[in-house]
C-alpha cells in the first residue's frame, strides 16, 4: 500500500513540476521564474489557503477539539526548537543552532498545501482549523529561536547587540515580536484566515464569488509555484558542501522523527486521518520563508546559508517527495478511518 501511495504522490502534477524545476537546474537549463513572479504565487497561495481555512473554520466553529489541536500545534512549535537546539549544539555554535532550531519548529506552508492537495486526490477529508494551526506555529518558533540565541550569546556581546543602534534591549524586543508576528507571510496568512471567517459568517454571498480565485485556480498555481520551488531548492543543493554531514543528517532525520511525535499527539487528540497527516506535516516541515527573514534581522550572527539550505534544499524536497506518502502510510496504519 505504501509504495502505491509513493507512486500516487510522485506522479501527481505538483510533484512532477517540482521535479521539472530540480531537473532543470541539474541539467543546466536556463529556465527561471524571474523575481517577483514567485512572490506573486507565494502571496496568492497564502491568501487563498488562509481564506479557505477561515471559511471552513466558520463552518466547523471553535469547539474543544479545534482549540486542543491548535494548542497542541503551538506547543509543538515551542518544543521542537528546544530539542532541536540541544541536538544541534553538539556540533554548532549557539547562533546557528538557534536559527536552525527555529526553522524546524516553524512550518512550511507549501509542504502543507502539497499535503492538502494529496489528500484531495485521495479523497480523504480534513478540517479548516488545521490552517489556523499552521498560521499559529510560525511566530512562537521565532521567539524561542531568538531567546535561545540570546541565552547562548557571550554576555558582553548580548549587551552590545541590544544597545548598538537603538540604545536599549526593550526596543530590540519590539523588533523581535514584530518579526515574529508581523512578518509579511504570517500577517497575510492570519489576516486572510480572519477575513475568510468573517465573510463566511457575515456575507456568505461573497464566498461563491471568491471561489474561482481561491479554489479553482489553486491547484494550477501550486504547480507553477512548485516548479519555481524545485529550481530554488536545487540551487540550494550547491550550498550543501558547506553544510557538512552533520547538518545533512539532521535535515533528513528531523522530519520523520518530528512526524512521529506528531502522529503520537494526533492519536492522543483523536484526530481524523486527514488532520493527522496535516499535523504530522506541520511538525515535520521547516520554515524557509518567515523564519529566515526573521533570523536575518534578529540573529545576524547566524549564517543564512546554513538554515536556508537545510530547510529548503533538503527537508522540503524530502517531505514533498518521500515524507507525505510515508506519513500517510503511517496514518492509515495507526488511525482508524473516519
Amino acid at each position: 500500500m505504501q509504495s502505491s501511495l509513493v507512486l500516487q504522490n510522485l506522479l501527481s502534477a505538483p510533484v512532477l513540476f517540482f521535479f521539472l524545476g530540480i531537473l532543470g537546474v541539474l541539467v543546466g537549463s536556463d529556465l527561471e521564474i524571474p523575481s517577483p513572479l514567485p512572490k506573486l504565487f507565494s502571496l496568492y497561495l497564502l491568501l487563498a489557503i488562509g481564506f479557505k481555512g477561515g471559511m471552513e473554520l466558520a463552518h466547523s466553529g471553535l469547539g474543544p477539539q479545534v482549540l486542543l489541536t491548535i494548542g497542541a500545534a503551538v506547543l509543538m512549535s515551542l518544543l521542537v526548537p528546544l530539542t532541536s537546539f540541544l541536538f544541534l549544539r553538539l556540533r554548532l555554535d549557539g547562533y546557528n543552532a538557534a536559527a536552525i532550531a527555529a526553522s524546524y519548529g516553524s512550518i512550511s506552508a507549501v509542504t502543507f498545501i502539497t499535503a492538502e492537495s494529496f489528500l484531495n486526490v485521495l479523497e480523504v477529508n480534513f478540517d479548516g482549523f488545521m490552517v489556523a494551526a499552521l498560521a499559529l506555529m510560525e511566530s512562537p518558533a521565532i521567539v524561542v529561536g531568538v531567546i535561545l540565541a540570546r541565552l547562548s550569546a557571550p554576555a558582553e556581546e548580548a549587551e552590545t547587540a541590544g544597545e548598538a543602534e537603538d540604545g536599549g534591549g526593550s526596543l530590540r524586543w519590539r523588533e523581535i515580536l514584530q518579526e515574529a508576528f508581523l512578518n509579511g507571510s504570517v500577517y497575510l496568512l492570519i489576516g486572510s484566515l480572519v477575513i475568510g471567517y468573517v465573510v463566511a459568517a457575515y456575507s456568505p454571498a461573497g464566498l461563491e464569488k471568491m471561489d474561482p480565485f481561491t479554489e479553482k485556480l489553486f491547484y494550477g498555481a501550486l504547480c507553477f509555484f512548485l516548479l519555481d520551488m524545485g529550481i530554488v531548492a536545487a540551487q540550494r543543493l550547491r550550498d550543501l558542501r558547506q553544510t557538512g554531514a552533520f547538518l545533512i543528517g539532521f535535515s533528513l532525520l528531523a522530519p520523520p522523527v518530528h512526524a512521529l511525535v506528531g502522529l503520537l499527539v494526533s492519536v492522543l487528540l483523536g484526530l481524523s486521518q486527514g488532520n493527522t497527516l496535516l499535523f504530522m506535516v506541520l511538525c515535520a516541515s521547516a520554515s524557509y520563508i518567515a523564519v529566515p527573514a526573521a533570523m536575518r534581522m534578529t540573529v545576524p550572527q547566524a549564517n543564512p546559508s546554513l538554515y536556508i539550505s537545510t530547510a529548503l534544499g533538503l527537508t522540503f524536497p524530502f517531505n514533498v517527495v518521500v515524507g507525505i506518502p510515508l506519513y500517510m502510510a503511517l496514518t492509515r496504519h495507526f488511525i482508524p478511518v473516519g
Partner: protein
C-alpha cells in the same frame, strides 16, 4: 563632493536609510533586487519570494564635510549585518 556606494541586504535597507538621513545627508537613491558576491557568500534573486530578499545598492552624494559622520553611522551597521561601502569623488553636474 563624495559619492558613497553601499551594498547590503534588502532586509536592512530601512535601517540604513534611516541612519543616512540621521547622519545629515540630504538625499539618497536605492536600487533593489541587486545580486552579487561578497565576503559572506553569493546572493541570488532566488530567495526574493521568501521576504529574505536580495541585496540593495544605495548611493549617497554628500558634501565632503559629511563623510566622517556618514562613516560613523554606517560602518557599525555594515559590520553587524554584513555589506560593504565605498567612497569616491564627484561634482554636481
Amino acid at each position: 563632493m563624495k559619492r558613497i556606494d553601499l551594498f547590503l541586504s534588502e532586509r536592512e535597507l530601512n535601517r540604513v536609510c534611516k541612519a543616512i538621513t540621521a547622519a545629515g545627508a540630504k538625499g539618497y537613491s536605492v536600487m533593489r533586487h541587486v545580486t552579487g558576491m561578497g565576503p559572506s557568500g553569493e546572493i541570488s534573486e532566488g530567495m526574493d519570494f521568501s521576504g529574505l530578499g536580495a541585496n540593495a545598492h544605495v548611493i549617497v552624494f554628500v558634501e565632503d564635510a559629511l563623510l566622517v559622520a556618514m562613516g560613523k553611522a554606517l560602518r557599525p551597521l555594515l559590520k553587524r549585518y554584513g555589506g560593504v561601502g565605498f567612497v569616491s569623488s564627484a561634482e554636481p553636474l
